[in-house]
Symmetry: C2
Subunit: 190 residues, 2 copies
């Protein structure tokens, strides 16, 4: 590996994190490298930077493209492929969320729905279905929220996040007032 020390730390960390997810070390490293590079890189530059085989780079880039995490660029009079990441980190986050939903949440939802359609043949199955219904409800609620939020542009999403906390506090304050009123009335009754 042949990189400025500061970049190298970042790349190595992402390699480790990658293997902690489903993504493997190399894919994580390549992504990190592209993310911090001032301009797009071609496959051979990645080979030189990370010290891995050309074929590994090819496969890993394909994986990153399947995740929509990487942009393909072309320079004039150069038929090599160059790769970058989007400039906007919030856009990257959105893509990541979308892809993980597609791979992890959606299949789970459809399995749950399918099972919930079936007729339980025992008490054990009836109980299992009830539990799955709870899980299904939770996931549906989360995805409904997500579907609403995902369309927001970067700056509005940021606003919503900082606002989110305030909405929470508002809710708490409202509840406190209501419960104060209730306990006052209860006290009056006694």
């Amino acid at each position: 590996m042949n990189l400025p020390p500061l970049v190298q730390s970042f790349v190595l960390h992402f390699g480790e994190m990658g293997s902690r997810w489903g993504i493997n070390r190399t894919v994580g490293q390549i992504y990190a490298l592209l993310y911090v590079s001032p301009e797009p890189l071609n496959a051979d530059q990645i080979v030189d930077s990370l010290g891995i085989s050309r074929s590994n780079v090819s496969m890993s880039l394909r994986e990153l493209q399947a995740w929509n995490l990487v942009l393909l660029k072309h320079l004039p009079d150069d038929r090599r492929d160059f790769f970058t990441t989007p400039d906007d980190v919030w856009q990257i986050l959105r893509t990541l969320a979308e892809e993980r939903k597609k791979r992890e949440v959606d299949p789970t939802l459809s399995v749950l729905r399918e099972i919930l359609m079936q007729q339980p043949a025992s008490d054990a199955e009836r109980h299992a279905q009830a539990r799955m219904a709870e899980m299904h409800g939770l996931i549906e609620q989360l995805t409904t929220w997500y579907d609403d939020v995902k369309k927001l542009e970067t700056d509005r999403l940021a606003t919503l996040l900082t606002l989110g906390a305030k909405v929470t506090r508002l809710l708490e304050a409202k509840d406190k007032i209501i419960s104060l009123g209730r306990s006052k009335r209860n006290a009056d009754k006694a």
Copy 2:
């Protein structure tokens, strides 16, 4: 594997999803099994249900305990350990979020902070640091929001989710009015 068909589908699916995360197949299967079981299970019951070795169950339960995803129960006059999952799915979600943050987000934040402290030795490093600063900012904003939200009890969290969408729409409406006002003024000027 010796399970009611409906439970088996669920368990198998979670096994596959498990290996798509860092978690392995067996851990995923055991968790799914515990999640749908009407009462706590001991290790031997898990062995029988899933057809895996006793030692594998022991290691996998240890893993689940490290993730705080599983509760240890004891029956009177029985010194075996029995395991369950929490009843409240929202509590499960909170735990999952907390543990993933601890394992994935926090280490990344600290690596980023450390790198950002250092003096860049080149333009490449300067640019890399700027990119890392963007990423750091995004993660900080997300975790601030998360820290606010995570303390909410189940029903209030659910409220916030359904509300979240409305807050969004409110923001959009407000922006539309403002931009309408602006474009009117601009039209007047012309």
